[in-house]
Symmetry: C2
Subunit: 339 residues, 2 copies
């Protein structure tokens, strides 16, 4: 089952633009032992998410920056292999913020149970985890969709966007997604039931929005920023609400990208732009997970996982994530559930 | 009193950047006569406001564009000289949207009474008119200040900004204004009671904000946009609220100016940017005018008028307004109250 080694990926050097293989270094240490009050966990799946790029910056973000030598931040699904706490028992599946490593001994309260009745355990860092909660609360707490609203979602085939669009359809919206390939565009329309898709790499986003939504965009869930945001700002309508979830188009930029200073568009339309973080709604996460789990079982909500096999492949997968190479929620499979 | 001529300023040619003398043409027609249901009004004061520049564009704004030959848009304070309606009697002072002209015959219901008990009639297009209402509702309905909030106001010596800052002080805020000269900066601090001022032409706005508001900006009333907005975006705090009233720094730009695409700053701080228009709050304008009139009489609220004498000088005054040459609410005095 193990040779006693715990492998971890650390940030070797701070990336200046796109992260590269040199950004990352693998360390090997002995698997630790749980002390009193702790659990020892073995990683099954690592979640790779765009926000991790932000942690590699010096600039203050909403969480602390990584320092060179630190293990890369991230949530994992893991199994408890040793427990020195009544909170979890050996064999329990948990979610924990241990970063990119195979094993960790952590305080038991820092591991959150993953309820296998809700869905496959990998969904605990996907549609029933942070990306799913981000979609649910960004849509329902920030954008508050009404039946008949035209909803635009950027990065619409991604881990968050795909859920936002489907939830929008369930709530009676006309849903337009932007994505970076014709395959992804077909997927969100044919498989997920979006009303329309725009390929931001090959189409004139603003003109397509004007054609698809001649009365303007009522709500916009933005994961991307940059040119997609600019295009939506040109297609607002009265009281458009915009939720800023992420700005992946800019995460590799050393300096803040320049774009139109188009805030006056908000005045004309009495529009609102609001930033939000999923953790602000933590008390209601269980409610949302139960609801979304039911929709998945009823076939009303679909998800796609892009599973990369092997701990050693995490850096390459992450580099691809920032340029849209993944298709679905990106996971790294580290070990088998039954080891 | 009159030679029977009505002079009007029209838009001769659409300006491409800064309006110039060639933008405007004066026409002379016979003074009209009020028909049934109308009043004939004689202009006392014309209000010159930055929003008029927007009307000169082809691009859609929240109101219709001017066409070459049209009389320049604008509100005036006028006196009724002939009435064919029971709504107003001869001698009444009214506010009306007749544009830049000396006389007009208009439907009586399009003239709004100006209550002389509230203040000098010129305030009906100033602190007790559209600029004052914009300040009151932008602050109270959009930004909703709380005691102890740090409030930043741009164009702080202008018709709107000067009121916003004083209302903020009355409501217990720490108020920082930006203005374009040391004289204006001294005025808002020494005369209006702002806590601090930043000269955006000579100082590093972002660094000054960081020094004056080390815990960040809670609320920002933006009349200016551009570099001032960029600097505030660098100094947000948790749940900062930003009201976009105007973006005068960009009104003369043919293309939307480029600046940092800094929407991610909103996410980190769960901040909100909202556009608004004063007309959305029209039902409550009388309440606000009564309240502000009392504050003026009690000496708690001050205003400054920059009165240019003579109808013929309106274009030059307007050109100066867009570059900050005025100091106080810009009015053109067209004729005497008692003619």
């Amino acid at each position: 089952m193990t040779d006693g080694t715990n492998r971890a990926w650390t940030m070797a050097v701070r990336p200046e633009a796109e992260p590269s293989a040199e950004t990352f270094a693998m360390t090997e240490t002995a698997i630790p032992t749980a002390k009193h009050g702790e659990v020892l966990v073995r990683t099954l799946y690592m979640s790779l998410d765009p926000y991790m790029r932000g942690r590699m910056r010096v600039a203050k973000t909403y969480a602390a920056s990584l320092q060179p030598g630190d293990v890369i931040t991230g949530e994992v699904i893991a199994v408890v292999e040793q427990s020195e706490s009544p909170i979890h028992k050996v064999g329990d599946t948990v979610r924990a913020n241990i970063g990119w490593q195979e094993w960790a001994a952590i305080p038991a309260h820092e591991a959150t149970p993953v309820n296998p009745d809700l869905g496959p355990v990998s969904t605990g860092v996907g549609i029933l985890g942070m990306p799913g909660m981000t979609a649910f609360f960004g849509l329902n707490a920030v954008l508050m969709p009404k039946t008949g609203d035209t909803l635009v979602v950027s990065a619409a085939s991604g881990a968050v966007g795909a859920i936002v669009g489907q939830l929008g359809k369930l709530q009676g919206c006309f849903v337009i997604g932007t994505a970076g390939s014709n395959e992804k565009c077909r997927y969100i329309v044919d498989e997920l039931g979006f009303d329309a898709a725009i390929n931001y790499k090959t189409q004139d986003i603003s003109a397509e929005l004007a054609r698809l939504a001649p009365d303007g965009v009522n709500i916009f869930f933005d994961n991307v920023g940059g040119a997609v945001s600019d295009a939506v700002f040109e297609n607002l309508t009265l009281h458009t609400r915009i939720a800023i979830c992420g700005q992946i188009s800019q995460y590799n930029d050393e300096e803040t990208a320049q774009g139109p200073r188009n805030l006056m568009m908000l005045t004309r339309n009495r529009a609102t732009v609001q930033g939000f973080l999923v953790y602000d709604y933590e008390l209601d996460h269980d409610m949302a997970k139960a609801r979304m789990s039911n929709w998945i079982k009823e076939g009303k909500l679909k998800y796609k996982e892009d599973v990369v096999d092997g701990f050693e492949n995490a850096p390459e997968a992450f580099i691809g994530l920032l340029t849209g190479k993944n298709f679905g929620k990106l996971l790294v499979k580290v070990s088998e559930e039954i080891a």
